[in-house]
Amino acid sequence: MPSWLRRHRGLVPYLFLVPGGLWLIAFFVIPLITVASVALQEGSLGTGYRLTFNFGIFPDAIARWDTQLLRSLQFGLIVTVLAMLIGYPMAYTIAFRGGRYKNILLLLVIMPFFTSFIIRTISWKFILADQGFVLGTLKDIGIVEPGFRLIATPVAVIAGITYNFLPFVVLPLYVALERIEPRLIEAANDLYASRFQAFIRVTLPLSISGVFAASLLSFIPAVGDYLNAELLGSRNETMIGNVIQRLYLVNNDYPQASALSLILMLGILVSVFVYRRVLRGQELTV
C-alpha cells in the first residue's frame, strides 16, 4: 500500500467503488439526465428541440395516457400475484422435496432462457391462434365456441408476461427457502404446530426476503413490458411500454416519450417503497 493511501486509510472503500460508480454515471446517471432534459424540451425533429423547461408536459402526459399507465400497474400487480402463486409452490417443492433432482429441476426452470423470449412469445401466438393447433382442435370437437379466442385478449397478455417472468420469481424464492434450517420446522412441529401453522409462522416469515426480491423482479419488468402486449394483445391491452415505444420510434415525439419514461420510473419507485413499508422494511437482498 503506498504511503499516501496508508495515511488516508478511510479512502480505500471509496476507491473500490470507483469502477462501479463510473459505470453507473456513464450508463445510468447521464442517460437519465438526458431523458430528463429531453422531456423538458419542445419542438420537433425537423425544426429542432429547444429546452424550455416545459414542466407542464408531465401532467399532460399523465392526463393523456392515464388509462395505459393504470393498466400497466394493474397488469404488473396481477402478474406478480399469479407468478407468486405458481412460483412459490414450485420453489418450495424444489427446495424441500427436490432431493438429488434439485439441480436438474433448477436447470429446467432456467431452460426457457436458452431461447430468446421474443421467439418464445411469438410461438405462443402460433400455438394459440384462433384456428391453430389448440383452439382449432377444441373448436372442431365442439368444446369451445367457434368465435372464441385467446390472442388479443387480456388473458393472453397477462399469461404471456407471467410465463416470461416466472423464472425470475422461482429463483430468488428458491434461494431464500433453500437457506431455511429444516430443524426449525421440525422444532415447530415438536411444539405442536400443525404443518400449516409451521408454514405460516416459520417458513413464510423466513422466506419473506425472497418474496420481496421475487415480487420486485417480476413487478418492475412486468409494468414496463411491451412485447407481450404487442404480440399477444390488441388496442384494449395497450400498456405504457407500447405507448412509449410508439412515441419514440413512430411519432418521433421524444419529449413526451421521455416524460412518460420518467413517470413510469417514478410510479414503479413509489410502488416499491409502499410495498417495502407493507413488508416492514425488508431490504432488497436475498
Binding site: I30, I33, T34, A36, S37, V38, L40, Q41, G43, S44, L45, G46, T47, G48, Y49, R50, L51, W65, T67, Q68, F126, A129, D130, Q131, G132, G147, R149, I151, A152, G233, S234, R235, N236, T238, N242, V243, R246, L249, V250, N251, N252, D253, Y254
Partner: protein, 418 residues
C-alpha cells in the same frame, strides 16, 4: 457532520444537473452557423430556396455507392447474392455497398437526421423512402435536387405516366420511384360469405358486426387515416383538420370490432384464419396467394392508396453520380423485370411485364414448369401489374406539415391505444 456533507453533495449534484440540462438541447436542422433559436414557422423558407439550387450529377460515376434500402426489396439468388447489384457493378465498375438498413420511415429518418441537420454526409448515396417522407425531407432541404432529363433518361423513357408527377414531388425534382404498392382490403373467403367490394364492409359498425374480432387494421397512421377518409368520401391528399377528426371518429366507431392494429404481421393473421377482413398491402396478398389462392385483395369502390417508395439522394452525399447511374440502371426494363420477379411489388416500369412473359416462354422451352407457372402468376397478377381500372381508383397520401403530422398522430394514437 454527515448531514452537512450530504447536503453539500446534493447541492453540487443539483448544480451539475442544472448545467447539463441547460446544455443539451438537440440542434435543429437550421443552416450551418446560425445557432439562434428557430422559429417553427420558417420551414417554408427552405422550401422556396430549394428548387433554385443546382442539381447534382452530370459527371462520371464515382468508384463507390452506398445504397440503403428496406429488407427483401431487391432480387436475391439462392446464394444470397444480389444479381441486379452484381450486374450494375460489372457494367459500371462502381463498388456498391447495399445495406438493408431501413425498417421504418420515421426511425430511419431519426438516425440520419442529426447528420443532415449538421450538413454532414449521412454515409448513404441512395436512400429509399416512402412518398410522404420524400415530401417532408424535400421541404426540410434534406435532399439533393436531380436533373432526371440529363441523368436518369431511362426513367422518362420507361416509367408509367402515373409516376411522373406525383403530389409529394411534383416534377420529380428530388426522387424517382423504386417500387409501389396498393393499400386496400384483403379477405379470406372461407370466413366471409359475401364478396367484399366496398370500404363500408370494413368500416360500417353494422356491417362488420358479424366479423367482430376478425377485422384487421394497420398501425400505420397514414394508411389507416387515409382509408377512413376515402370511406368518408374525402380525397386524402386534400384532407383538412376536420376531415382528420371525422376519420378518427370513423376509426373509433370501428375499433370495438377490430382485433388489432398491425404492422407487417397482419399477413400472418390473414393466412392463419385469425382475420376475416383486413386492411392489406397488395404485394403481401400476392405472396400469400401463392400458398392459398383463395385469399382475395380488392381495391374498394371508394378507392385505395397507391403508395410509392422512392430513391433519393440525401443532402451532402459523397457519390451522387454513382447514385444517378444506379437510378438510371434500374429503369432498364430488363433490370426492372428481374427485380419484380423477385420482390412482387408494383414496378414503375410497365414494360417489365412483357419481359417477364418472355421469361415464361423461356422457362417453358426449358421444361421448367414450376418457374414458368410462378413467373406467369407474377406477370398476370393485377396486384403486380394493376389494371387501368384499378389505377383510376387509387389516391396518394397527403404530405403533412409538422403541425398537421403531430395533430394527426395524436388523433390516431387515441385509436390504437384503447
Amino acid at each position: 457532520m454527515t448531514t452537512h456533507r450530504t447536503r453539500t453533495t446534493f447541492a453540487i449534484l443539483g448544480l451539475c444537473l442544472a448545467l447539463i440540462l441547460a446544455s443539451c438541447g438537440i440542434e435543429p436542422e437550421d443552416s450551418p452557423g446560425s445557432t439562434s433559436s428557430v422559429d417553427p414557422g420558417d420551414s417554408g423558407a427552405t422550401d422556396s430556396a430549394a428548387p433554385s439550387q443546382a442539381a447534382v450529377g452530370g459527371g462520371e460515376p464515382e468508384d463507390v455507392l452506398n445504397f440503403a434500402n428496406w429488407p427483401l426489396y431487391i432480387d436475391e439468388d439462392d446464394d444470397g447474392n444480389r444479381p441486379t447489384i452484381d450486374q450494375f457493378e460489372e457494367a459500371t465498375g462502381v463498388d456498391v455497398t447495399y445495406t438493408e438498413s431501413i425498417e421504418d420511415n420515421n426511425s430511419f429518418f431519426g438516425t440520419i437526421q442529426p447528420a443532415l441537420a449538421a450538413g454532414d454526409d449521412t454515409g448513404y448515396d441512395i436512400i429509399v423512402m416512402t412518398d410522404w417522407m420524400i415530401g417532408n425531407m424535400a421541404r426540410l432541404g434534406y435532399l439533393e435536387p436531380l436533373n432526371v432529363e440529363r441523368d436518369v433518361p431511362n426513367f422518362l423513357e420507361n416509367a408509367d405516366a402515373v409516376y411522373l408527377d406525383r403530389s409529394y414531388d411534383p416534377g420529380n425534382i428530388y426522387s424517382v420511384p423504386w417500387q409501389s404498392g396498393i393499400t386496400g382490403i384483403g379477405y379470406n373467403p372461407e370466413l366471409v360469405d359475401e364478396e367484399i367490394t366496398s370500404l363500408a364492409q370494413l368500416f360500417d359498425p353494422e356491417l362488420i358486426e358479424k366479423y367482430c374480432g376478425q377485422i384487421g387494421m394497420f398501425i400505420e397512421m397514414r394508411d389507416a387515416m387515409s382509408l377512413a377518409m376515402l370511406y368518408n368520401g374525402v380525397t386524402p391528399s386534400e384532407a383538412t383538420m376536420e376531415d382528420a377528426e371525422a376519420a378518427q371518429q370513423t376509426l373509433l366507431d370501428q375499433a370495438p370490432c377490430v382485433r388489432d392494429y398491425y404492422g407487417n404481421e397482419y399477413a400472418q393473421g390473414l393466412a392463419d384464419g385469425s382475420l376475416a377482413i383486413t386492411m392489406a398491402w397488395s404485394g403481401d396478398v400476392f405472396q400469400l396467394q401463392l400458398d392459398n389462392p383463395d385469399l382475395q385483395f380488392v381495391v374498394p369502390d371508394e378507392g385505395g392508396i397507391l403508395w410509392t417508395d422512392n430513391m433519393a439522394i440525401p443532402k451532402g452525399a459523397a457519390h451522387p453520380n454513382a447514385a444517378l447511374a444506379m437510378m438510371d440502371y434500374v429503369y432498364d426494363p430488363e433490370v426492372a423485370a428481374q427485380i419484380t420477379e423477385w420482390v412482387n411489388y408494383i414496378t414503375p416500369v410497365p414494360g417489365a411485364q412483357e419481359i417477364i412473359l418472355q421469361h415464361v416462354a423461356d422457362a417453358e422451352a426449358e421444361d421448367d414448369a414450376e418457374t414458368a407457372d410462378y413467373l406467369r402468376a407474377v406477370a398476370e397478377s393485377p396486384l403486380v401489374f394493376p389494371t387501368a381500372d384499378m389505377l383510376d381508383r387509387l389516391f396518394s397520401y397527403k404530405v403533412l406539415d409538422e403541425e398537421e403530422e403531430r395533430a394527426w398522430n395524436e388523433l390516431f394514437d387515441e385509436v390504437v391505444a384503447g
